[in-house]
């Protein structure tokens, strides 16, 4: 008990502990039952969490008539790809929206890496003047939410002719991701052992060669984490896209789905098509999550709340 005096310090608590020690035998007997209880709760929780996703996938596979049925059916009577076909041809067409979303996401990844790999290297490996102040400026995006900056950004983009362009959208998405990415990259570079660089410098490598040949291979996992989060953010972001993209053909996937919900709600929402759109936009996120779970968790635990 002295090992954790703050835990069971008082006499009352000690007595309580002894009483429950006596109950320990009972507990042993019911432990078997508790195991089943925990398992049952786990299964119940999984069911609740997965049901909405399952319902969406099933609804997207209903025929046109069945998707509009009142009351709705739980399971499709027959599987059909009608909803996906309608989505394919909706307005400017799914390929346009899909490639817009993909384009913005890829540009965001490129911008994030191009800016934060050198920045992380510079901050981790050099005695940069006024480093603390620099770091604060670079992390300004954490203090000022981008939602509050959209009004002046919109005005700036109109002047720079960057509205309605994927580059403009990717710039905002990069601004959102920059603080997190810099944080992750700097930590990754700091973890590269100094001896390796020193040896390379002795061999006559300059700092850029050290970055490319020595450091980069060591920070690949961090680059994957940065890319993954950049992709997820950009692929899913709605508000900035809503502000910057106001031409139908420049819409991203979340944007056209939000628009479809409103446009069709006058003449009856096309629920089947909406579910198809949801499934399409969820698939890449889920795929990356399942494939790159390790990098996902690394990013979350290192930078999500700091």
């Amino acid at each position: 008990m002295s090992a954790f005096p703050h835990v069971a310090g008082t006499g009352i608590e000690r007595a309580r502990a002894q009483r429950s020690a006596a109950a320990g035998l009972m507990e042993g007997l019911i432990r078997g039952r508790r195991k089943y209880l925990v398992a049952a709760i786990c299964v119940a929780v999984c069911t609740v969490m997965l049901l909405p996703l399952l319902a969406s996938v099933l609804a997207s596979l209903k025929s046109t008539e069945e998707a509009a049925a009142v009351p709705p059916t739980y399971f499709p009577h027959a599987l059909s790809l009608d909803s996906y076909k309608r989505l394919w041809d909706y307005q400017a067409g799914l390929p346009t929206y899909f490639s817009n979303s993909l384009g913005a996401a890829l540009l965001t990844i490129i911008f994030c890496l191009a800016l934060t790999v050198p920045a992380g290297y510079g901050l981790a490996k050099f005695r940069v003047p006024a480093k603390e102040a620099l770091f604060v400026v670079l992390l300004l995006g954490l203090i000022v939410p981008y939602q509050a900056l959209l009004t002046p950004l919109f005005f700036l983009f109109v002047q720079l002719k960057l509205h309605n362009s994927l580059v403009g959208l990717a710039i905002v998405h990069t601004a959102i991701q920059l603080p997190f990415s810099i944080y992750v990259m700097r930590n990754a570079f700091e973890a590269v052992p100094r001896e390796l660089e020193e040896a390379a410098t002795m061999d006559g490598c300059n700092s850029f060669q050290v970055l490319v040949h020595i450091c980069l291979p060591a920070v690949v996992p961090a680059m994957i984490t940065v890319s993954l989060f950049a992709f997820i953010t950009s692929w899913n972001e709605l508000l900035a896209a809503l502000v910057i993209m106001n031409k139908d053909s420049s819409f991203t996937l979340p944007l056209i789905l939000a628009a479809a919900r409103q446009q069709t709600s006058i003449g009856g929402t096309d629920w089947g098509m909406l579910q198809a759109g949801i499934v399409i936009s969820i698939i890449p996120c889920m795929a990356f999550y399942l494939l790159l779970q390790k990098y996902y968790m690394a990013g979350f635990l290192s930078g999500a709340v700091k």
Partner: protein
């Protein structure tokens, strides 16, 4: 040997990111302050009006309605998220197959888009076509379908809360599990030898030793809720009568469809000020946790 030179080489590597932040964060921030002092739209010439926009905000009932609604939403959803997230973490913290699987499932909705999940739940809660009304009727909980969105602001808020809890509860769970794993196992073992029951150990050991994480996640969650937009834009569209228009939603409405950029900038500045308080608190906390 070449320390002085290397300082500036280091600066060179940081320059692109710095330039980006200066152009796309610092400049807009300054611009926002400047705009907030003007009557500024894309169509009419801008006019300096001092703190006129702020005075207007003070007297704008919609600003107060939105702020009040956003605070209410935040005050209700934060404890729900924290308690459910923590219970889920306690349930799944042990590294056994079923629990690890459950943890991954709980986290899965976090990775999908807020827009996609909001549309999904908008459909589930739909009056005629939604599976929730259908299931509640089949289970005998309600006799007639419920109008979830558009009629009553509180009903709509609860529906949104249900969807957001499903969507983000795993965020806290994952961080809580990491914090629980960081507790030295000797502590729990010693308590077990002493005969402390499971819930006693949770209360005396797990909760106090993860308190810092709980605080940090609470702050992150509060900031996220104060900035809520997607879920209301998609699910309630602010209805009924803009009663469910959150602060960000109201800024969006003023700035873009109405193009009152100066007024929107002033409102943004006010919101940024509120968020700043939360962020500074969060940073102070996480800095202390490093030490």
């Amino acid at each position: 040997m070449h320390a002085r030179a290397s300082r500036y080489i280091g600066l060179l590597y940081v320059t692109p990111a710095l330039a980006f932040v200066l152009v796309f964060t610092v400049y807009p921030l300054a611009q926002m302050m400047w705009m907030s002092l003007h009557n500024w739209s894309l169509i009419a010439p801008k006019k300096y009006i001092g703190f006129g926009n702020f005075a207007k905000a003070w007297n704008d009932p919609q600003v107060w309605t939105s702020l009040e609604f956003t605070l209410k939403y935040t005050a209700i959803i934060t404890p729900i998220l924290m308690i459910l997230g923590y219970l889920a973490a306690l349930l799944t913290a042990e590294n056994r197959p079923l629990r690890q699987f459950t943890r991954s499932v709980i986290f899965a909705p976090v990775v999908i888009g807020l827009g996609a999940s909001s549309l999904l739940w908008y459909w589930l809660f739909s009056y005629d076509f939604g599976l929730i009304n259908r299931a509640l009727i089949d289970l005998g909980v309600i006799a007639r379908p419920v109008v979830w969105f558009g009629a009553d602001a509180d009903v709509a808020m609860w529906a949104v809360i249900a969807s957001i809890v499903w969507k983000v509860v795993g965020f806290g769970t994952i961080l809580f599990v990491a914090a629980i794993h960081a507790i030295p196992t000797e502590l729990s073992e010693a308590a077990m030898v002493d005969g402390a029951s499971y819930w006693q150990r949770v209360r005396k050991i797990t909760l106090p030793l993860t308190a810092k994480t709980i605080l940090l996640v609470t702050l992150v969650s509060i900031i996220g809720s104060l900035l809520a937009f997607d879920q209301f834009y998609i699910m309630t569209a602010g209805q009924p009568r803009n009663l469910t228009a959150t602060s960000v939603f109201m800024i969006y409405l003023n700035s873009f469809p109405y193009l009152k950029l100066g007024y929107g900038a002033a409102l943004s500045l006010i919101l940024a000020g509120i968020i700043l308080v939360c962020t500074v608190l969060q940073m102070l906390l996480s800095r202390r946790s490093h030490a």
